[in-house]
């Protein structure tokens, strides 16, 4: 028998882990002489009580959905893709090239082109670590970490030496042409009488992220490829027995993962900054790890966790604006979430499992 009901596994444990993370975050806030209650109120006010706040929350959530899905897909194949950050960086380059060098008549076509560029470049950056893991046994965690640094160096080089317009100081590309401007939530939902999502960067890419969630769900649980990815993730020996090629699955899962991570560049580079800048990813690739862990590698969970982290991000920015708490509080919270939902999973899980077994025994 399973040790506990499914709902406990997918809801109860993440919630408890989250509460633990919240508790320790509160301690940290207290320790630096601020009030956790006040801080939380400010975060809710800033992130959820105005449409503009939601516009930021959902903008960040869009990034985290993509990177969270990226980590989740790789996890299903028991691959830890820690390289979402680098893949998204290089994908930004793909987006920039597509936007700068192809004259797009309309944003709807441009977003398709940019998505292809982002997914392709992101996947490409995941390909080498994937290949090395599959063929040469080089540990993918180490290689993807290394590729994050290589990506940063490469992007720096490209921006400073190749894409920077003549005479410009910033290491950034030229502004993208108007034809690539994506409709923001403000463009889409404002009416004559009331402006909604004023100034917020959330844009149409958000719906692309939701679509990606559905796509990943279908892929993992409804297709042969997903069946094979999960089978490989559970048991490599069994996969071989069934004629599932480990090399093929490793490479494909990582390509999909890299493509998904890359997709966030559509949101940041095309949707927000409208030019390629140096630090467009802002650590979203790493937040994907927290999001996937919290979301239990399920697209629905990833979606919810991504919005939660979007809220934290926007709330954290508000805190930094109005209090003495720097934005890095979010990094701490993110670390605690990864710690409790990921590394210390057994610490939370084992007592709960025992509780359920004891309850079952009493009922029996």
């Amino acid at each position: 028998m399973d040790k506990m009901p499914k709902w406990a596994d997918i809801v109860l444990i993440p919630v408890i882990s989250l509460l633990l993370a919240a508790f320790f975050s509160s301690l940290v806030i207290l320790a630096i002489g601020e009030s956790p209650v006040e801080a939380f109120k400010l975060m809710v006010d800033g992130a959820l009580m105005r449409s503009a706040g939601w516009g930021y929350t959902l903008y960040y959530a869009t990034n985290f959905m993509f990177t969270g899905l990226a980590v989740a897909v790789a996890f299903h194949a028991r691959l830890f893709n820690i390289g979402g950050e680098g893949q998204a960086m290089i994908a930004g380059l793909g987006v920039a090239l597509v936007c700068l060098y192809i004259p797009w008549p309309h944003w709807s076509l441009a977003i398709l082109g940019a998505s292809v560029g982002a997914a392709l470049f992101g996947a490409l950056w995941a390909l080498i670590p994937a290949y090395l893991q599959a063929r040469r046994g080089s540990h993918i965690v180490i290689t993807t970490i290394m590729f994050n640094f290589i990506a940063a160096a490469l992007l720096n080089y490209v921006l400073v030496e190749l894409l920077r317009p003549v005479g410009a100081m910033d290491p950034a590309s030229a502004k993208f042409p108007a034809g690539t401007h994506l409709p923001t939530f403000q463009d889409m939902f404002s009416t004559e009488s009331s402006k909604m999502f004023r100034g917020a960067p959330a844009n149409v890419t958000f719906f692309l992220a939701l679509a990606a969630c559905v796509f990943v769900w279908l892929l993992i649980w409804r297709t042969r490829l997903g069946y094979e990815i999960r089978a490989f993730g559970q048991s490599e020996t069994a996969a071989k027995y069934a004629g599932i090629s480990p090399v093929r699955i490793t490479v494909i899962a990582m390509l999909i993962s890299g493509a998904l991570a890359g997709m966030m560049a559509v949101n940041t580079t095309m949707g927000e900054s409208e030019r390629l800048i140096l630090n467009a990813t802002e650590g979203a690739g790493f937040i994907g790890i927290a999001v996937a862990l919290m979301g239990r590698n399920h697209p629905l969970g990833v979606c919810v966790a991504a919005i939660l982290f979007g809220f934290l991000y926007q709330g954290g920015a508000e805190l930094a604006l109005w209090t003495n708490i720097p934005r890095e509080l979010i990094v701490v919270i993110q670390a605690l979430v990864i710690l409790f939902t990921g590394a210390l999973d057994n610490m939370v899980r084992e007592p709960i499992e025992k509780l359920f077994i004891a309850m079952r025994r009493r009922n029996a």
């Binding site: 399973d2 409804r222 297709t223 559970q234 020996t237 069994a238 027995y241 069934a242 004629g243």
Partner: protein
């Protein structure tokens, strides 16, 4: 009478709902070899793990030389003079013999002095017990038999008075096993107490002074070996008369289905495991491959099943099939009409986390009839799974339950249902009843024979000689990557097969008067 070397009183141990040991008591006299026999899963290893401090018993007491002793961990077991040779050796592979021997029993904080002392002591032990091993050899370069000696030396170096050996011959050739038993005799002469855990009746009859039988976590009997017989022990082990023969009519072999010529397999470490073998399997017959584990049978199955590479020529229904590259994977083999019940259902045949229904298409999940559009036809697969599980009497008959939640026998039935229902031309089946309860064994054997009677070709690999002898229409024996010979089960016996399994082809001395001995070896 002196105090027993070891006495266990009322030991009980449960893992969740499973009662692995129930109120077990035994008493072993010093200077004797005491056998503990029982089927896989009878609780033998659990009992010994308690004795060695790996598990804590829920209830019961342990007495060593009459003294009540607590053994919370291995350290205490070692202190109490207990040494254990595990089924899977606990050696550091890239360390030398000497380093492995002193590990945990070093003499002071500096290595040099410890190593010097150990070298002398090792020489002494080698002379005393005939346990010769090069102290500077690296473990991974040693043969399995020598690695086992290092394990025994480790225990003796720690001054063990009581030595427990868990299934020590599972990985040994018969010759190596004989050597081991000679060493054990020597140890007994020197006054050591030995507990031998095995499921092989022959070893018990040949070497032990007393024997305890375990069944489903309980100790069913303890008897003097000289006062019992293999038949009696077998009956005690399984709880009723064992059915040694399967009901089947003589085979009527048809055309050749599988033809193997000059097959060679090199494993990942570069060691040649199959060294050029030829064999054929015809429609409507069962070819049994006998042999001690690790003599290339597994690799043979892996190549035929398409998950290891090999060289040579293999034809299936007259068509050559590739042995490396793209067309040589498990899928291609299934397309060629080969089904495969692998040796290790938990690591190969099933995805333990997958539900039963998902497992019923494992390996066949790309078949057209399991698709609807670009998606998998999950509803259809579930319905089919329910039918298959009913037909193969899988319990509980719930397709949504994860494979890990079924018993060994029922897991095997799920694999068997999947592979047999495909109506293959050739069925590869490895260790079909390993870890399977007796009721399921009969069912599984019957299914295999039925398939043969439908005119299918079957290649059976098993380390259980009984199983090979009762199911096969022809028997081939593998040793060290070679096929040593082929025998008709009606005209051979276990002695002869045993010699072949040890690599001795001159079996003329034992072929006469074979049938009685086969019975004795049970």
């Amino acid at each position: 009478m002196t105090a027993p070397a070891i006495e266990l009183k009322g030991i009980s141990k449960a893992f969740g709902p499973v009662q692995a040991n129930k109120d077990i008591s035994i008493s072993v006299q010093p200077g004797t070899i005491h056998g503990i026999i029982g089927e896989n899963g009878a609780g033998k290893s659990t009992l010994m793990s308690i004795l060695y401090g790996f598990y804590k018993a829920d209830a019961g007491e342990i007495f060593i030389k009459g003294q009540k002793t607590q053994i919370p961990d291995s350290q205490h077991a070692i202190k109490a003079g207990i040494g254990m040779v595990f089924q899977h050796f606990k050696l550091v592979e890239n360390f030398t013999v000497l380093e492995n021997i002193i590990l945990g029993a070093e003499d002071g904080a500096m290595l040099t002095t410890s190593l010097g002392k150990a070298r002398k002591e090792l020489k002494h032990l080698a002379d005393e017990y005939g346990l010769n091993v090069d102290p500077d050899a690296v473990i991974e370069n040693l043969s399995v038999g020598h690695q086992q000696r290092v394990e025994i030396l480790k225990a003796l170096y720690r001054k063990a008075e009581i030595l427990i050996l868990d299934e020590p011959t599972g990985v040994l050739t018969p010759a190596e096993a004989d050597q081991l038993f000679r060493i054990l005799d020597r140890l007994r002469e020197e006054g050591k107490t030995i507990i031998l855990i095995t499921h092989k009746l022959r070893e018990i009859m040949d070497t032990t002074d007393t024997v305890s039988v375990m069944r489903r976590g309980e100790m069913t009997a303890t008897v003097k070996t000289s006062e019992t017989s293999p038949e009696e022990l077998a009956e005690l082990m399984v709880g009723r008369k064992v059915l040694l023969r399967v009901d089947k009519v003589p085979a009527t072999p048809g055309k050749t289905v599988l033809d193997v010529k000059g097959l060679r397999v090199v494993d990942e470490k570069g060691v040649e495991r199959v060294k050029g073998i030829d064999l054929t399997v015809r429609a409507g017959e069962i070819l049994g491959i006998a042999g001690v584990a690790g003599n290339g049978q597994s690799e043979l199955l892996e190549v035929l099943g398409g998950f290891a590479d090999g060289t040579g020529v293999i034809t299936m229904n007259g068509t050559e099939i590739p042995l490396t590259g793209q067309g040589a994977d498990g899928r291609a083999r299934r397309d060629a009409g080969i089904s495969h019940v692998p040796e290790d259902r938990q690591r190969e045949g099933l995805i333990m986390e997958y539900s039963a229904w998902e497992n019923t298409v494992f390996g066949y999940h790309r078949d057209k009839d399991h698709q609807s559009g670009i998606l998998m036809d999950n509803a259809g697969i579930q319905a089919e799974a329910q039918e298959k599980m009913d037909r193969f009497d899988v319990r509980p008959p719930n397709p949504k339950l994860a494979a890990k939640n079924f018993s060994g026998g029922n897991q095997q039935k799920i694999v068997l249902a999947r592979e047999i229902e495909r109506n293959p031309d050739l069925l590869l089946i490895g260790q079909p009843t390993r870890g399977v309860d007796i009721g399921a064994i009969e069912f599984i054997h019957q299914q295999v024979v039925n398939l043969r009677d439908q005119g299918k070709a079957i290649l059976l690999v098993s380390v259980e000689l009984d199983e090979i002898m009762s199911l096969s229409d022809r028997i081939a024996v593998m040793f060290d990557g070679h096929i040593m010979g082929e025998r008709d089960p009606a005209q051979t016996n276990e002695r002869e097969l045993g010699l072949l399994m040890a690599g001795i082809t001159d079996t003329s001395a034992v072929t006469n008067g074979a049938s009685e001995e086969a019975l004795n070896d049970g």
